[in-house]
């Protein structure tokens, strides 16, 4: 039954050289196959002391339950110090789930591709985009690693797992932006418009929506809003509109209220028209604007209306500096009023001025200024008499948070904005991982010890090897000479 193919194969084996060539070829094919299999089905073992590349049980459960493909787009430059650790961690995800795909966009080489993938948020400090079909969730650098003085806190796995969980989730949180009082619009792509903010919120898992209140029955328009953002109105709220907000409050809506001082057409400061709403949370907005006199807090330009506020301990301020730890992470406040917290309220201050701030009742009206003291410029509160357990409010007496997405220098305000939204709906991470150990980030050597180490590794070790080599060769040659002499 020998066919012509077998005959030819056997004739090859008659020549040893041909047999060797065939065996080399076959070995190459077998090893190629082995590599292909190894590339498709592989395992990764994390033997490092911190176990940063070992996925926790919560992540493994998330990946095992994954039904659709998620593309993780790394948007860091390869030269970025976080690029390699992020890539290796994503490799651990890919080793666990074939439904996780990795793509890279180098922001320096491919700015257009980044713009296409990230839209208006491309200008942010983006590190990663999780994409499923048209759904996208963004992860910024500060979510991966936080550096606080000499401590590095790593939360890469938490950030990636949350992004995957968020992009796989179908429900979005409805965030309403009431208009009709001179607020900037989320549809406005121009300077001062809130279109970049709306894009960013979309990629954080929210559904932003503009809701005009200057219509009949405005309360109905706020139906089903999970969060209502009062975005720095330039005119006071009429009582009817405030009632519409209060009726949304009864249904369990949460509020992010940004109320910088409102200047009336006559040039005096006007009330915001939200006293009833704020009063239910035990908060009161003082009519006036703050001037910071502490040189370590205020900016040199202006008369002190631009200043850095001190964050107080709260979930919303998590990740910001406190006291003198890091001055660059304190939120910048531009033209703020002051907030009073009523004694019996369930409110907590978020941001405060130094104790050298003054409250002016009008612009430049220093005669009316009160004595210097510390003022609250942001507070978080729950209802004094809880009619709905979900109702929460975060009040900022300034509006800089709105610009924080388009202005990279306002990163602390962006963190405040994102944390506020999370706190308002009590959004806990979908995947909760055990905390990772922090690392110390300190210089290793003094100048003196560095030069000693330099001498050691550059001269003593190579010099020792050269000396040993010379000795061995000398001994060898003298031994050979002696042997020759003995022979002769």
């Amino acid at each position: 039954m020998r066919g012509p193919v077998w005959t030819r194969l056997l004739s090859v084996t008659e020549s040893p050289i041909r047999l060797l060539a065939v065996s080399v070829l076959l070995a190459g094919i077998v090893l190629g196959e082995l590599n292909w299999l190894g590339a498709v089905r592989y395992k990764r073992f994390d033997l490092s002391a911190h176990g940063d590349y070992s996925l926790s049980d919560a992540t493994l459960a998330l990946l095992r339950g994954q039904k659709s493909e998620v593309e993780l787009i790394v948007t860091l430059s390869p030269a970025d110090p976080l690029f390699e650790p992020l890539k290796h961690l994503i490799d651990s995800y890919r080793a666990t789930s074939p439904l996780v795909r990795l793509t890279r966009i180098d922001p320096e080489r491919e700015p257009l591709a980044l713009k296409a993938a990230a839209g208006n948020s491309a200008a942010l400090d983006l590190a990663l985009i999780a994409r499923r079909d048209s759904e996208r969730v963004f992860v910024t650098r500060d979510k991966l690693v936080r550096v606080e003085q000499s401590q590095v806190r790593v939360s890469m796995e938490q950030a990636i797992s949350n992004a995957i969980a968020d992009v796989l989730a179908d429900l979005k949180v409805r965030v309403c932006f009431p208009t009709g009082h001179g607020e900037p619009s989320i549809d406005d792509v121009g300077k001062g418009g809130l279109s970049p903010l709306a894009d960013h919120l979309t990629h954080l898992g929210y559904a932003p929506e503009r809701v005009p209140l200057d219509v009949p029955r405005p309360a109905a328009r706020l139906h089903d809003c999970s969060i209502i953002v009062v975005a720095a109105p330039e005119r006071p709220y009429p009582r009817e509109h405030e009632r519409a907000l209060e009726s949304a409050l009864e249904r369990g809506a949460a509020f992010l209220v940004l109320l910088p001082p409102i200047v009336s057409p006559s040039g005096t400061l006007a009330p915001a028209g939200l006293d009833h709403l704020l009063g239910r949370f035990g908060l009161k907005l003082e009519r006036g604007f703050l001037v910071e006199e502490d040189p370590s807090h205020r900016l040199p330009e202006g008369m002190g209306e631009l200043f850095f506020a001190n964050p107080e301990l709260h979930r919303i301020t998590d990740g910001l500096s406190r006291g003198d730890e890091r001055h660059d992470a304190r939120p910048l406040v531009v033209t703020s009023g002051a907030i009073t917290i009523i004694d019996r309220s369930r409110a907590a201050p978020l941001l405060k001025t130094s104790d050298k701030a003054r409250l002016l009742s009008g612009f430049g009206d220093f005669d009316s200024a009160q004595a210097t003291q510390s003022y609250v410029v942001a507070a978080a509160a729950e209802l004094i008499e809880p009619t709905h357990p979900k109702a929460r409010l975060a009040l900022f007496a300034y509006g800089t948070l709105l610009d924080s997405v388009s202005d990279l220098s306002l990163v602390a305000n962006r963190i405040l904005l994102e944390n506020s939204l999370d706190w308002l709906i009590d959004r806990t991470p979908k995947v909760i991982l055990p905390p990772r150990a922090t690392r110390t980030r300190e210089p290793y050597f003094t100048e003196e010890s560095l030069s000693a180490v330099g001498r050691y590794v550059l001269f003593f070790i190579p010099g020792g090897a050269a000396a040993l080599g010379a000795l061995v060769i000398f001994l060898r040659r003298s031994g050979a000479r002696k042997a020759q002499e003995t022979r002769s």
């Binding site: 082995l34 590599n35 990764r44 491919e110």
Partner: protein, 249 residues
Amino acid sequence: MSGFFAILKRELLSLWVTPLAWVLLTIFLFLEGSIFNTILLHFSAMPSIDPDSSPMSAFLGQNSLLLAITLLLICPALSMRTFAEEKRQKTLDILLASPVSAAALVLGKYVALLLTYCAFWLPTLLYAWVLRDTDIDWAALATGYLGIFLLGSSSLALGVLMSALAPSQIVALMLASSLEFGLFVLGLGEYIFDSGFGQELGAYVSMTNLLDEMSRGIVDTRRIVLHTSLTAWALFVCVAWIEGQRSDA
């Protein structure tokens, strides 16, 4: 495998009683010392935000192209004389006529080179001793050296094969260097292609990837499969070549 230890001993002696290995070792340690010293200066001036970065892990692979380039030079230089020198001195025919099997001949020479390569790296453990008061991840250090070993074993095997195929030492050096440089460049494809087959292939063969992962304490079975199979294939072809030479003779 008769004659394996005899060949091993002969090769080790011929390597270490001639100046070549000692000159290479001195140059190697000076280069590695320079790299380590630069890394230390960098870390002292500006601690890295990379959570896993430490001087030892940076030295053993993290973002250290210099290390990969050093390996590209040192492995071909070590392996170039394996068979090419035998051909030059016309001692290959004597070896082929001896009762030593082809596998023992190739493996004996290869293991001698591998031991020499390990001996080259041994003094760099003193760098870790210098840093003993800092927070050293000893497991990551061990895997870092495993990465160096894996890369060296495949590079040396390819070098031995090139030495067998090439007519002279210098041609063997050039062939082995070109081959390894080609693999190195192929690995850079990981950073050139954003996704797809090119990126996957680049990531698979990337030397810097192997060293970087291993220096962080990550052991990936893909790297072990690739470098072990590359070593096995090169040595197998080399044995086949010896058998061919023997049958011709």
